[in-house]
């Protein structure tokens, strides 16, 4: 069991999916193969910037690229998106939410207590 590798992968997924443009790119390439230049036309940003987003998704293992002539074609890796690792990453998000809601609850009480003390 390579724990570090899994965690690195989870980090890469979180990082890759934390960006709206990257999520949008991933949606498009999961629906079908797109050339990077076609993708670039869909966004109000430079070709280089879109290329960079594609590279982040590729490094996270969510997208694969192949060359056809002068074109770089990108497709989403459905298996990776649906893999156990991705599912555990999803669950992690749920648990992180619960933990942060507990943290907020305790923080609210700490603030309330502090305010009460000031009144006294």
């Amino acid at each position: 069991m390579n724990e570090t590798e899994d965690e690195d992968r989870a980090d890469a997924w979180f990082h890759a999916l934390a960006d709206r443009t990257r999520r949008d790119i991933l949606r498009r390439v999961l629906a079908g193969e797109h050339s990077v230049s076609t993708l670039a036309q869909s966004y109000d940003m430079s070709f280089a910037a879109v290329q960079k987003h594609v590279a982040v998704l590729e490094r996270a293992g969510l997208l694969t690229k192949r060359r056809q002539g002068r074109e770089a074609l990108a497709s989403g890796d459905v298996a990776a998106v649906r893999s156990v690792g991705a599912m555990l990453t999803d669950l992690e998000a749920l648990w992180r939410g619960r933990i942060s809601r507990m943290d907020e609850l305790f923080a609210e009480e700490a603030t309330a207590t502090h305010t009460d003390n000031q009144k006294d």
Partner: protein, 162 residues
């Protein structure tokens, strides 16, 4: 950030999360011991949870439902398998068929272990959740009650399915 460390064990389909809260252990325990507090933290945004039965003792049942933004209710339950308050408790988390909270045999059950230790007025929490198989994990996520990256992934799944 209260989350300090996360481990994914793909072979055992186990998720382990370590967190540290700026609160004493009794305060953290109270969240689980009080259904009204548990409701505040359990359901993801948009899916508030309602605990109908709350028996945090060995063999006890916790029956709850989550309400979707469309008003649909997802019934679920915990069977408490061990309690050592405030140091922790273990339970099986499953889905129920209806408002009678009859366990749904077609839905997965996860086993969970929550444990807490206190140091200098702060509490370290360890959450371990284990799923029997990959299909179980997928079903839990398919219930739609997941936040964060899931929203993106669900949209992706819909797109792929379309």
């Amino acid at each position: 950030m209260p989350v300090t460390h996360v481990t994914h064990d793909l072979d055992a389909r186990t998720l382990t999360i370590h967190a540290e809260f700026a609160a004493p252990i009794e305060r953290v325990w109270a969240v689980y011991a009080d259904p009204r507090q548990l409701e505040r933290v359990w359901g993801p945004p948009g899916y508030p949870s309602t605990f109908v039965d709350h028996d945090l003792s060995e063999g006890g049942r916790m029956n709850y439902y989550m309400t979707s933004p469309e008003g649909e209710r997802f019934y679920a339950y915990w069977t408490v398998t061990g309690v050592d308050g405030p140091a922790g408790f273990t339970f099986d988390d499953g889905f129920a068929l209806d408002e009678d909270f009859t366990p749904n045999p077609d839905m997965p059950v996860s086993s969970n272990a929550f444990s807490f230790t206190e140091a200098d007025g702060r509490t370290r929490a360890t959450y371990v959740g284990t799923y029997a198989d990959t299909e179980s994990l997928q079903k839990v996520l398919d219930m739609g009650a997941v936040e964060g990256s899931t929203q993106a992934i669900n949209q992706i799944d819909d797109l792929v399915a379309a």
